[in-house]
Structure formats: C-alpha cells, structure tokens
C-alpha cells in the first residue's frame, strides 16, 4: 500500500478512505517506538466516536497506548486477526495490522488530517 493514499494524525494514527468507510491503524513510526505489541483491545461495532475520542488501546510489554479517532464516525468493524496476532501491528502496520474500520460521519473532515509528507515532518520535529 502506498503511503500517499493515507492521512495521518499528530497522535500517530493513519487513516485510509474506502468509500465512506475508513481503515485506521497505528503508524510505522509509532509501532517502532512502542516495541513489541502484545495486545490490542478491539472495540465493539456500533460505537459512535467523535474526532479525538479514544477508539481503543494497544499494549506493549510495559506500556498502554491509546488510539484516538482521527475523525467522527461509527465503528463498523475491528481487525479480529489481531486477537491472536497483535504483532501484525509491528510487522505490517499499514496493511494486515489495521485496527478499526470506521463509517465516517463527514468525509470532508479527512481533508484536515496530515499528508504523508506533513507527518514525516511531524515525526522529525
């Protein structure tokens, strides 16, 4: 997957639109900082979240990190594969390691997120 298709947040989530649905995951940079992911809590479908709300948490051996909703929407799905293989977030953060699928309330909100270049700049700073 090309990173050009993705949008990013300051809190290190990525988002990829597919119609009105958005896949959300943790960036490669963030997984590198966290180290081995040992658990991903999967949110229940149907939950509505506002932009900036806690979507779920991921755990490494000694830390818990929150995944925030980049935009508002309803949780429609979560990546069940992470139940047995949370390390997919490490090995394939932009692919098999996706975490939540969100039905986005307002697709235009996505335009407010960072581009790949902007995010790269952000992580350097």
């Amino acid at each position: 997957m090309s990173k050009r298709d993705l949008r990013f947040t300051k809190s290190h989530e990525w988002l990829k639109m597919k119609g009105n649905d958005a896949l959300i995951g943790l960036t490669d940079y963030a997984q590198g900082e966290l180290g081995d992911i040992v658990f991903v809590e999967l949110p229940a479908a149907g939950t509505h979240v506002a932009a900036g709300d806690v979507l779920t948490t991921v755990e490494s051996v000694k830390s818990v990190s929150e995944i925030y909703a980049p935009v508002a929407g309803d949780v429609v799905d979560a990546n069940a594969a992470l139940e047995d293989s949370p390390d997919l977030v490490n090995s394939d953060p932009y692919g098999e390691g996706w975490i939540v699928k969100l039905k986005v309330d307002d697709a235009s909100a996505v335009d407010g997120l960072m581009t790949a270049d902007e995010y790269e700049e952000h992580t350097k700073g």
Binding site: F39, V61, K62
Partner: protein, 497 residues
Amino acid sequence: MSGAAERQKTVVEPTIFELSSPGRRGYRFPPLDVPPIDPVEVFGENQVRSVEPDFPELTEPEVVRHFTRLAEMNHHVDRGFYPLGSCTMKYNPKVNEDVAQLPGFTRLHPEADATDSQGALALMHDLAKHLAAISGMDQVSLQPPAGASGELTGMLIVRAYHTDKGNPRSKVIVPDSAHGTNPASLTLAGYEAVEIKSDSSGRVDVDELRRIVDSETAAIMITNPNTLGVFESRISEIIEIVHGVGGLVYMDGANLNALMGIVRPGDIGFDLMHFNLHKTFSSPHGGGGPGSGPVGVTNRLADYLPYPVIARDEARSRGIEYYLDYERPKSIGKVHGVYGNFLVMVKAYSYILTLGPAGLRRAAENALLNANYLQHKLEGHYELPYKDYCQHEFVLSASRQKEHGVKALDVAKRLLDFGVHAPTVYFPLIVSEALMIEPTESESKRSLDHFISVMIDIARESEFTPEVVKGAPSRTPVGRLDEVRASKDLDVSWRRG
C-alpha cells in the same frame, strides 16, 4: 570464562510439582479424637468435589531444600546494595523481626476482647501518636495495608470532607513526576486527574498551578521531596494557592525518609499524607509485601478516618485504657478486613523506639549525605538533568551512554553482574533513560565507593565495549527473559506435560 559458560553450571530449579512423588508427606496431624465424618453424607453429593486438588507430595527436607535453593537466586538487602529509587531499601533490623514473632502478637485473634488485647492496642495507639509527632499531623489511622491503599484512603477522606461541605468537587492535581499510583488512586476516589508540568528545576510550576486551580479543585497530591529527589522549595506558595480555592493538600510520604526531624509536613500546611512503614520505618519489603500505609490527617479531617479508631481512656472508666472506637458516623468506613498489617506496625514501632528523636534525624541526614555523595561522584560520568543538591535520592540519565547504543535498562542489567541491584529505571517519566538512585542511610562510605567504581566501569564499557553492557547480565542465574513471550503465551500456573 564467558558469562554464558559460567551460567551453564547453574541448574534450573524444578517447580515444586515436578519434585513431587506420590505418597510422600511433609506434615503430620495428631490422630483424630472425635468421630470421623463422611463428606458426602455431611455436605451432600452435589457440594463435594470429585477430585482432590492436585497438590504436590513431598517430605519436609525436600520442601526446605527447594525453597532454600529458590532463596539463593534472589538479590536482597542483607546481601548487597539495593539503590532502588523511591523504594528506600534500608536495612531491616533483626530485633524487629524477633519481637514481631512474640506469641503475644502472632497468636492474638482480632476478635479478642479489648481487655485481652491491651498490649496490641497500646502499641497501635502509640505508633499512631509517634507517626503524628514525626509528621506534624494530628491523627493517624494505621489501617491501610500498603501505600496505594493509603493514597485511596486519603483521597476518599478528601472526598468525604468536600461532600460534607456541600460539593465533592471533581479534580485533583498531580505533578507529571508523580508515581503512577497517585492518578490511579484519585480516579478510584471519583476524581479526574489534572497533570501539572514540572519547571526546569524539576519542581511544580507554580505559575501554571495558579492558572489551573479553581473551585472544582479538590486537592493536590504532592510527593515531597519529589521523585526527582528535589524538595519543593515553593511548597508554602503551592499550599497557599490550593488552600486559596478551598482545596486540600495531600503529601505522598514515599520519600519521608528525607524529612525525619528536618521538616514536619503538618507544620508547613499539608492537610493529610500517607506513610510507608516498609520504606521509612524499616519493615522489610518481603519480596513485594506485606507493607503498611498509614494515613495522617489534621484535626479538621479526623472525623473521616477509617473506623475503628484506636482510642485511649486514661481514666479507664470502662476498666480498660485502650479500645476500638466504631462510633464514627462520618468515617469513610473500612479499607482493610481488620485493623491493617499489625505485625508490620510492630516492626515500625520497634524501629522508632530504637532510634529515638536524634536517631531518626541522623538517619535522614545520612540518607541525604549518601545520596549527595553518589550524585557528586557520578555526575561526571552520567548526565545529571537536575543539578541542585539532592535530598535522599537523585535521577541520572543514561543519555550519554545511549549515543553508544546503551540504554538505561542495559546499565541496570550490567549492575546485576557486579552483585549490585539496579536503580529504578525509566522513572520518573519526565527524564529520558532515567536511573533513579536512592542509597539510604544504611550504606557505608565503602559500599558507596564500590558502587561508584562499578558505575564508572559501566560508563567506560558503554563507550568501548557496549556489547558487553547490552548483553548483560551474564553472571545471574538466568539471562534476560523474554517478556513478549511471557505476555503472549500466558503460563501462570504449572501444568503437567
């Protein structure tokens, strides 16, 4: 010989279950002198278990040898230096252990009448009084069984006080250098944590505090000296600001060892605090408990303390001097099933009496002296982010070593190879690659000098042979363990085959 080769000789101790052989027994009862029962007949078939619990079967020498072998794999205070920051790993005097084993204490049942437990009640009453004298608090409850429990108790008292005044309020302020139990405890007490940043000297940013307090501020929780080992020198202003909006000021007493005989929190305006008898007052840590976390309060909060309170009636109007007072309508209730960790109290009480007023002050002074001596000797070799004289502990950063790929964790693990326990690492969170060092007053200059030379050696190794440090420890019974595997393939109970 390489470390790994040295370790080859050590034998992994099997679990107690693997040592079991059918038919062996390690303990015998007197013959039953009443008619035996049949469980199925007495309890009913549907209540009785079908298979006995799969307990191991061993004789006494096998059991003793197993646990003695396990013991030998531990580092401990009696063996060597244990500079864990904020844990106050001081020496645990032997006489305290002995007196805590007196049958008059160990076999006393908590439901014994007050007439039959005057010795225990007197001890608890006086220990509370001594803790009050040391801290400047007015009343002390000994009930919380650990530090975190003391924090929860304190926060529930804060809540009860504000509720009594009409509004429980919603927020409690905690510095970013606080121990994680602080925000956890205030949350369980129904409050929202408001984090306040530290200023460049490592202290609470007083201007920021002024901005964030309001009528919803229930309290501030302050560790003083804080986890960076610095005294909050503007504490009077902090207290005034919080009192100014009607809030209370709570002291986390984890670092009280630095203050004994030097500063009494009650005198300078703290409203309540908890003590850690297992840190400041020398009761042993027991490999992680039992601790004891008494809570002290000023008079205006005394009504809210957990019940029962140990009360004294000098006139002995009911024939006894000490009794348990349950008539406390405003009390937050009980925080422990009984009165708290009594035997830990016995040890702390013995410690205070052994030291006396001058001894307590001398302990604090030497804790400070030892910490400053180490800080001074090590700052040329490791980054020291906060450079003032420290109190009883200080925080180094392994940031210079990180340039060679060596992290704080690696330094910690390498120390183990030299028979020294590691400092607290990666805490407080506001210092990167933190190494938090607390020597306590129990260490001699010789022991400190040994630690200094080992730390300097490790700094040198980090520069020239970093792989040795990164591969440490090599002389311990096991090498670094796979924590990812432990978390993923959860094995928390031994199973056959």
